[in-house]
């Protein structure tokens, strides 16, 4: 690139002193390491009341009556509210969207009125001066509950004779999707080998370390409801509160300060949180609800819970000819509002087989109701299931025809030069890099060396396994995700920038921060686009009164969509700055640039004036400027992806582990991931998103499971009994990148937050099966607890 081109400053690559692509530390993390963050429970406010909920002990029960007089008389109690009391101010909702044809669900109330449909559903609320007093009073409520027949097992949920949870819906089928592409039967008929399996991916849940938290405050004098919420999508919450409490938009403000982990858990509408909002409205004072950990396990959404029967046809040369799969998933008694619980199964259909060239594909997904905790979207929605099914079958196919697992993938991934392309399921890829990713991964891990080590150790009775998994990931969703189905969830995001008199920039943006580093990335982009030091940029997120309208942070949209809005806004502010500076300096905007907080001569870089001086003149001495010059130092730009419904990313993961064949214990030795999220705005932040995601995926593969008995009782709903990954059992993880920017934005960034979770379980399970190969043993159940491995080995 010539010096002249660089001077034009057309793309971020040309900007001098660019922060883009640098691992700068997060400016807002400092308060967190000092214990000076502001999570919802840290807020202090006058007249704060606390709510606790009585939750149904039965998975299905009719509420015949609630005797509340003792609770009402208990010390500190302000109000005891039943479902009917809350329903007077908060209307029920139904979690359906029109683009999921046939999806049905029943009206759900903030607090159950006639029936409780899962063990843990709130059936009565007590507001008191302290949480402890509210809980004391809860214990005094006498609930007259009539247990009803339960539907627990998703396998039998559709059988005749199984109790129908919502009689008015006619059956327990919430949603079904089928797909039949190409000549599947012909492909299976002509195949050299057909492999099949039933994969089971257990229910698990998010366990955000900060539990769900909300404080709602109705100020009657201002007619304003302020909701402080540990949440990912403040504008969505605002819209829903307006709708169900009958308030105008101007009367509802949602503020999300520090959020202690989200992972898709904190993006749904929870009945107990809506009840808290309603109680604040009724009581005209702030009311706080912090889920305690025990109630988190039975009220946070659960995830996954899939049983997939699948088969794959391959030729003798290892070419994948066709995939057929049948997914069954249980979602609890309601489709969750407003995103619905059909999305995950739909994604499994879309994504299965996605990295590969085959064009024969048949799929069916059925989503059924059951009396368990509601299930909905959690990090990497549907991806880990689709990847497990695909990559599990690929390994089985390789074994069936005697081919190396790396080689069969090499032969089947969509070629890097074949894009744009359309997968068998119909999803569109702008540009992927499977070939580069695979080769890079194999080099990084020294695949051949590991195979050699594996063989040597095997001879000594040590069983190690190598597991590979290719994945694709949906990021940067357009309105195709939710908007087209009628959900009022913003697909676009805006960024407003303001130049202050001292030369600092305030950036207000609709995407939000839950620890991913959103604010840092936005500051990097703004600093680069405008031409100021990053320390001069303040980022404001998570306040519906203060930021442009936006969707928040989910489905890996913060960097790709928020970042682009910030980039466009930054360029516009720089143009406005240069216009004013040119007049003051008797130059032209083209001949000037903004660098490191100073107006400089573009060609020579010589300083002409500081931004602080420009700010001084524009704000305090506008009388010295020509009458027709109107400095606009506040600008807003919006961005929404339009070319493609989603920006797909891709990558490849590998796991290396050792199985103790006497105990069934798995020791993770190392994990690798090569990932292509387009332009990398901050390499360290991306790598840590990947690593964190991998560990959540490992949790799903080996430990995490919401276990239920036949009556729909969750058996391990405490942190002591529900296992999450601990540091001592986690491996070191090496992360590499291939960079294929998306052409739909100038920055070219795609998302990276879910890739780790998407591919890790399949890599780990494939590695376990690789280790078990000498025993002809195979696990396809997640979590693959020691017991499952011993069962596969025929030892229990």
């Amino acid at each position: 690139m010539s010096v002249i081109d660089q001077m034009k400053g057309l793309t971020f690559l040309d900007r001098p002193n660019s922060y883009i692509g640098r691992s700068v530390p997060r400016p807002n993390a400092k308060r967190l390491v000092q214990g000076r963050g502001t999570y919802v429970d840290d807020l202090r406010m006058p007249r704060l009341a606390h709510v606790a909920f009585l939750r149904s002990p039965y998975a299905h029960a009719r509420i015949r009556g609630l005797a509340t007089s003792a609770a009402k008389a208990a010390p500190g109690v302000i109000m005891v509210a039943t479902g009917a009391d809350i329903a007077k101010v908060c209307t029920p909702w139904v979690g359906v969207l029109t683009h999921f044809k046939g999806l049905k669900s029943a009206p759900q109330y903030a607090v159950a009125i006639e029936r409780a449909c899962w063990a843990g559903e709130a059936i009565c609320a007590v507001v008191a001066n302290s949480r402890a007093e509210a809980e004391d009073a809860i214990a005094l409520i006498e609930a007259d509950l009539e247990p009803l027949p339960v539907t627990v097992d998703m396998e039998t949920a559709l059988d005749p004779g199984t109790p129908i949870i919502h009689a008015e819906l006619g059956d327990n089928l919430a949603f079904e999707r089928t797909l039949d592409v190409g000549d599947v039967d012909g492909a299976f008929r002509d195949a050299a080998a057909v492999v099949e399996n039933t994969f089971s991916v257990g229910r698990h849940t998010g366990v955000t370390l900060e539990p769900r938290s909300i404080i709602a405050d109705w100020n009657e004098g201002e007619e304003k409801l302020t909701v402080y919420h540990s949440f990912q999508a403040p504008h969505m919450m605002q819209d829903i509160v307006c709708k169900h409490l009958g308030l105008p938009e101007a009367s509802v403000r949602v503020v999300c300060k520090d959020v202690g982990g989200s992972f898709g858990i904190k993006v749904h509408i929870y009945p107990d949180e809506m009840a808290t909002v309603a109680l604040a409205k009724i009581l005209k004072r702030p009311v706080k609800f912090i889920a305690d950990r025990l109630e988190s396990f039975v009220s946070d959404i659960h995830a996954r819970d899939h049983r997939v029967k699948a088969k794959m046809a391959v030729s003798a040369e290892g070419e994948i000819l066709a995939i057929e799969m049948d997914d069954l998933t249980g979602i609890g008694p309601y489709s969750v509002y407003p995103r619905t619980s059909a999305v995950e199964a739909n994604q499994v259909v879309n994504l299965t087989g996605g990295p590969y060239k085959h064009q024969n594909y048949r799929a069916r997904a059925r989503v059924v109701f059951q009396n368990k905790v509601p299930m909905c979207q959690y990090r990497a929605v549907g991806h880990p299931i689709a990847v497990m099914v695909t990559e599990g079958l690929v390994d089985q196919a390789a074994a069936a025809i005697g081919m190396d697992p790396a080689e069969i993938r090499r032969r089947n991934v969509i070629r890097d030069d074949a894009h744009p392309s359309i997968a068998a399921s119909g999803i569109k890829f702008e540009k992927l890099s499977h070939q580069q990713s695979l080769e890079k991964l194999l080099t990084m891990m020294d695949y051949d060396g590991l195979r050699k080590e594996q063989a040597e150790l095997r001879a000594k009775g040590i069983y190690r396994g190598i597991g590979l998994a290719a994945f694709i990931e949906i990021t940067n969703p357009s309105a195709a995700f939710y908007g087209v189905g009628g959900a009022r969830i913003s697909a676009q995001d805006g960024c407003t920038l303001r130049l202050n008199p001292q030369g600092g920039v305030i950036a207000a943006i609709g995407v939000t921060e839950q620890g991913q580093g959103t604010e840092s990335v936005i500051a990097q982009v703004v600093a680069t686009a405008v031409g100021v030091p990053m320390s001069d940029v303040r980022v404001v997120t998570g306040d519906t009164d203060a930021t442009p309208y936006g969707g928040g942070t989910w489905a890996c949209r913060a960097a790709g969509i928020g970042g682009e809005a910030a980039w466009q806004s930054g360029k516009a502010l720089r143009a406005n700055i240069l216009e004013v500076a040119a007049v003051i300096l008797q130059s032209t905007p083209d001949a000037l640039d903004v660098r490191e907080g100073k107006i400089v001569d573009k060609a020579t870089g010589v300083e002409r004036m500081t931004l602080a001086e420009l700010g001084r003149v524009a704000y305090f001495r506008p009388d010295t400027l020509p009458a027709d010059l109107k400095p606009e130092f506040v600008v807003t730009r919006h961005y929404v992806p339009k070319d493609y419904p989603f920006a797909f990313t891709n990558g490849m993961q590998a796991s290396y582990l050792e199985v103790d064949t006497d105990t069934g214990f798995v020791k993770l030795l190392k994990h690798w991931c090569v990932e292509d999220c387009g332009t990398v705005l901050n390499p360290q932040l991306v790598d840590e998103q990947i690593r964190g995601g991998i560990v959540q995926g490992i949790g799903a593969a080996l430990f995490e499971h919401c276990r239920y008995d036949s009556q729909g009782q969750m058996l391990n709903g405490s942190m002591a009994d529900y296992l999450v990954p601990m540091s001592s059992e986690m491996p070191d993880m090496e992360v590499g990148h291939v960079v294929t920017p998306t052409a739909s934005s100038e920055l070219g960034a795609k998302g990276a937050g879910e890739a780790g979770t998407a591919g890790a379980p399949a890599a780990v399970i494939n590695a376990i099966n690789d280790a078990l190969r000498p025993f002809n043993a195979h696990v396809s159940v997640q979590p693959a607890r020691p017991e499952e491995i011993l069962r596969a080995l025929g030892k229990v």
Binding site: P25, V33, D42, R293, G517, A720
Partner: protein
């Protein structure tokens, strides 16, 4: 008087300041610190002794603030993340966390740092495995732990280099 209403007066030193308060007999130490002293840096992730988010120092030892009653801290010396920050004993570890991005949401971080402070007092030169073992009682849902282990290792190396130079 109901048992729930029973109170006791306790006197202790918190982050170097003597405090005397009446507390409910059933109140946990971490709730006392958060609710009565507004020291909100200690967090509650489980309230049943598993996650480590509530870890504070009592008489120099890292303990779970959700497993100890406030009345048990009568006469004790308690240091929270706010105190560890102000005294500067953890400054290099905190800086290493920032540089290495060893935190995401930050909810586990105060407890994690308190545990690490204890580790580095007991073992100034821990191996990667020792670090992993030491923080195993502190859950982090965001980072995957790798960066935390890196950050502690970076501190260990930096402290050693500094010592050698002195």
């Amino acid at each position: 008087m109901t048992p729930a209403a029973e109170t006791h007066t306790i006197s202790l030193i918190v982050n170097g300041e003597r405090v005397t308060r009446a507390v409910a007999a059933r109140m946990h130490l971490v709730d006392f610190l958060r609710e009565q002293l507004d020291l909100t840096g200690s967090h509650l992730g489980c309230e049943h002794g598993v996650c480590g988010a509530c870890t504070v120092q009592v008489d120099g030892i890292a303990v779970r603030g959700c497993l100890m009653l406030a009345v048990q801290a009568d006469g004790a010396t308690v240091v929270t993340i706010e105190g560890l920050t102000d005294s500067g004993v953890l400054a290099d570890v905190q800086e290493a966390f920032l540089q290495r991005n060893a935190l995401q949401c930050g909810f586990c971080t105060p407890g994690m740092l308190t545990t690490i402070a204890e580790l580095l007092t007991v073992d100034p030169d821990p191996s990667r495995d020792t670090i992993r073992d030491a923080i195993s009682g502190n859950y982090c849902r965001c980072t995957g732990y790798h960066a935390i282990v890196d950050a502690v290792q970076n501190v260990v190396v930096a402290r050693r280099t500094k010592e050698a130079a002195e």
